[in-house]
């Protein structure tokens, strides 16, 4: 890992960070926390209040962020349709089409849910589907690009959602997963109903999920737990096994995957004290620890997880760290 730059955002604790897919060019990134949402356009050095135009009387706790999948492409082409950034807050999902300068709020069904995770359909431009995982209210689904939301929790026996992961082949397989307080649930009908998986309850909560980019072929999904265990399923979540050789301490707050070649996956697992990188599908790990990494709560890797790629890390004391793997 190379030099770490860090900046204070003015937030108490950062719960989510997200960076533009063209972060290397535009330096656009967001940090969300209990005191609201901050935006930076210089790669995470200077931060300002992203909700300033809303004129809020009290800070709006925000805990989830997502860029629409073809944001980079549309930004280059200056297309308006899909340059959307979503922010999940208490009681609503906000979206911006102008790099976070202005926001539109869509209220969620009462009582106000606390949005903890957001996932946008890979085919968002066509299907307009967005999913919001919440604490205590399960999963909300919007089929009109975030305008209206409804709960779809058939079979979701645990409504405390920490993580959402959507299949890259969603248009074909309608599959998504949620990491919850008691394990992992799977939907194979576009989030309209959920089924338990065999993920062991005693190892939950599941804080982070990541689906293989080759999911259609390999069916691989990873789950990181609060108890610092990394689990893997190679059959679309039907059976799970703990990854051997994994020893990094602390809850696994974020997981990111990228294909290195046809056979292997590169995996970045972020705990509250270390960055753990595997370039062989989890068989071996390079663990990077330093005092500066203490208290990392969330991460974003806009350029993937190859060596040298930049990652953004949010911390529990309101800092955003930018470093290269």
């Amino acid at each position: 890992m190379t030099r770490i730059t860090q900046a204070a955002t003015g937030l108490g604790a950062i719960q989510a960070v997200a960076a533009s897919p063209t972060f290397a060019q535009d330096g656009l990134c967001f940090a969300a926390g209990s005191d609201g949402l901050r935006v930076s356009t210089d790669g995470g050095i200077i931060w300002r209040d992203a909700y300033a135009t809303l004129g809020l009387r009290a800070p709006l706790t925000t805990a989830a962020l997502a860029f629409s999948p073809s944001y980079a492409q549309d930004r280059v082409q200056r297309a308006e349709g899909d340059r959307t950034i979503f922010a999940g807050a208490v009681g609503g999902v906000l979206r911006s089409h102008d790099e976070g300068q202005t926001w539109r709020i869509a209220s969620l069904p009462s009582p106000p849910p606390f949005v903890t995770a957001l996932a946008v359909s890979p085919h968002y431009l066509e299907d307009g589907l967005v999913f919001a995982g919440t604490m205590e209210d399960g999963v909300l689904r919007s089929w009109d690009r975030g305008d209206s939301w409804a709960a779809w929790n058939f079979g979701l026996l645990d409504l405390n959602v920490y993580a959402l992961a959507i299949s890259p082949e969603f248009a074909r397989d309608d599959t998504l997963y949620v990491g919850v307080d008691s394990g992992v649930f799977r939907s194979s009908n576009g989030g309209r109903a959920w089924r338990e998986t065999s993920f062991p309850m005693e190892c939950a909560p599941v804080l982070s999920l990541a689906i293989s980019p080759n999911f259609a072929a390999d069916g691989v999904i990873f789950a990181g737990t609060e108890a610092s265990e990394l689990w893997m399923s190679a059959d679309r979540g039907v059976t799970w096994r703990g990854l051997s050789g994994w020893e990094a301490p602390g809850p696994i707050n974020a997981l990111m995957l990228a294909p290195t070649d046809a056979q292997e996956l590169a995996i970045l697992a972020v705990t509250d004290a270390a960055l753990c990188l595997s370039q062989d599908g989890g068989a071996s790990w390079q663990v990077q620890c330093s005092a500066e990494l203490r208290g990392v709560t969330c991460a974003a890797a806009p350029a993937g997880v190859e060596p040298g790629a930049q990652v953004l890390l949010g911390t529990g004391d309101g800092r955003v760290l930018v470093c290269a793997l």
Binding site: P111, F154, D181
Partner: protein, 550 residues
């Protein structure tokens, strides 16, 4: 001789002949209903002047046949009827398959017993062969989960594309144990509705608790819940609940009790004010203590908190704030109440559901299975309603009955999987039976396996014949094509059934096979028939209803 036994007993060889005549009569009535190109059976209505009832369900037809004029044949007919009725109660389908299997096995068995084989030994070997068939059916079973395949399973049962597609969608959402109500609708077609959360058919104890007079409904957000089956006769009995809730800062409260007297209700109404504390009270769901106890256990797991039970002498005197359950939303009207987002421990809920599912799959008691199914369906957190409309009342009734039958089959397929349809799964048991024949020299054993070898082809032959094709030709073509191939009577072609999505619910095929074949094996051991003139036994369903695990 008592009045009951006025007719003389029947001995061999008349026993077999008469029994077969009666059984053949009822099987012949049901045989045309097997397969996707089934025909209907018209049954006269003796009690009114309306036209005959048109039926295509073997189980329902069997129930309608009360008595044959020949008392000797009647015993055989009622034996088969009882078997079919029981099967219909258990699985909701498969009666025509069971009927033709019974006939093929029994008639061939009678011929061989008449030729000198021992009926009791034959029965024993038949039962061994039945186990071979069931194992082969288990081997062919594959799970089915997605909406498309569920719709295909439904279509093989009901042959109604619109109904099949809707049931496929519904079960894809609510799951195999999910709650589905099928009701008569007011439109001409089919409509479905999904309801989030859980509800019970018990309403508000006072009309004055209705907050929304237009919808006659009240709703609470982030509500505390007191679960009990107590009889509250005095205001003092409920006062500790209000005091504890007030001290805990609870603003919205649902009280579930078996009974709350007017004076205690008045206390609740006097303290229910929007700016102070909103209070709703409903009656404990369930008929009788056992059902109420089940509700309290389930609701406590779902919402957390502690249920207060009359049986253990509980009162509200020592209620603490942690005894309250919680839910994100509660609603109640004058007929029912519901919960959305119960805030109990999800791990405990999942363990509780796993225990209920295990009990459901292990019990043979149909009534208990029904209750467990209902509890599991509720706890899954949502329900669906299918409204069946039509042009006439008769249309609606018939389609609703078809929808119920199909829903039961789809549910069974979700829980136990599917096998290739069109009689192919049974036909595929023949190599295993042939191996049994080759492995023994015992004449009764070889005869038993040969009987079964022929019998397992009978459903396919009947399906083909009912569709107007030649069964022998079709069977020859299917044998040439190889395993998993069958005759698709809708296209008139030999097809790979599994790949074409022509499947049958495994539970239905196994249950029909077991019922038809074991009944035939048992019937072969009947030597004397004694006829009783009491009629009610024929008119009532077999009991106790039990389901054998296959």
């Amino acid at each position: 001789m008592s009045n009951n036994l006025r007719l003389p007993p029947v001995f061999q060889p008349t026993t077999y002949r008469a029994f077969m005549a009666g059984a053949d009569r009822i099987v012949a009535t049901i045989r045309p209903t097997l397969g996707p190109v089934a025909r209907t059976v018209a049954i006269q209505r003796p009690l009114d002047q309306r036209g005959p009832e048109l039926l295509d369900n073997g189980g329902v037809i069997a129930k309608r046949i009360i008595q044959l004029p020949d008392y000797r044949a009647d015993v055989g007919a009622m034996f088969v009827r009882d078997m079919l009725w029981r099967l219909q109660e258990q699985e909701g389908d498969g009666t025509a398959t069971a009927a033709v299997l019974f006939q093929a096995t029994f008639n061939e068995g009678v011929r061989l017993v008449a030729a000198g084989l021992n009926a009791r030994r034959l029965q024993g070997f038949l039962e061994e062969g039945i186990e071979v068939i069931l194992n082969e059916l288990r081997r062919q079973t594959v799970p089915v989960n997605d909406a498309h395949h569920l719709a295909q399973v439904a279509f093989t049962v009901c042959q109604d594309r619109e109904l099949s597609d809707l049931l496929g969608e519904i079960f894809d959402i609510v799951g195999g144990y999910g709650r589905l109500e099928i009701r008569e609708g007011s439109s001409r077609g089919l409509e479905r509705e999904y309801v989030e959360g859980i509800y019970w058919e018990r309403g508000l104890l006072s009309r004055q608790m209705v907050a929304d007079p237009q919808r006659l409904r009240s709703e609470l957000e982030d509500a505390a819940i007191v679960l009990s089956d107590l009889n509250i006769q005095e205001p003092q009995q409920i006062l500790p609940v209000l005091v504890t809730a007030f001290q805990a800062g609870l603003k919205r409260l649902l009280i579930v009790a078996d009974e709350i007297a007017d004076s205690a209700l008045s206390l609740l109404l006097a303290n229910s004010k929007p700016d102070h504390m909103q209070i709703l009270a409903v009656k404990t769901p369930g008929f009788g203590r056992e059902q109420q106890a089940d509700f309290l256990v389930d609701a406590a797991v779902l919402c957390g908190g502690r249920p207060f039970l009359r049986a253990t002498g509980d009162t509200f005197k020592a209620i603490r704030s942690e005894d309250f359950g919680r839910a994100r939303r509660v609603w109640a009207d004058l007929r029912s109440f519901g919960l959305i987002g119960g805030m109990g421990d999800p791990r405990q809920l999942r363990r509780h559901l796993a225990a209920l599912r295990a009990a459901h799959s292990e019990t043979d008691d149909l009534a208990l299975r029904g209750k467990l199914h209902e509890r599991i369906g509720r706890l899954m957190g949502g329900s669906a309603t299918l409204r069946v409309g039509g042009v006439t009342v008769r249309d609606i009734e018939a389609r609703k009955e078809l929808a119920e039958r199909t829903a039961a089959a789809v549910r069974g397929a979700m829980q136990e999987g599917v096998v290739p349809g069109g009689g192919v799964a049974l036909l595929a048991c023949r190599p295993a039976l042939q191996r049994c024949i080759d492995a023994t020299h015992d004449p009764e054993a070889r005869a038993a396996y040969r009987i079964l070898l022929r019998a397992v082809a009978e459903p396919l032959r009947t399906i083909v014949a009912n569709a107007g094709y030649d069964p022998s030709d079709a069977l020859a073509e299917v044998r040439m094509a190889g395993p998993d191939y069958g005759f698709d009577v809708l296209t008139g072609r030999v097809t790979a059934m599994g790949a074409a999505g022509i499947t049958d619910p495994a539970n239905v095929v196994k249950a029909a096979t077991y019922a038809g074949l074991t009944s035939a094996a048992l019937a072969l051991t009947i030597d004397v028939m004694v006829h009783r003139t009491e009629q009610p036994a024929h008119a009532t369903p077999p009991s106790p209803a039990r389901r054998k695990r296959l």
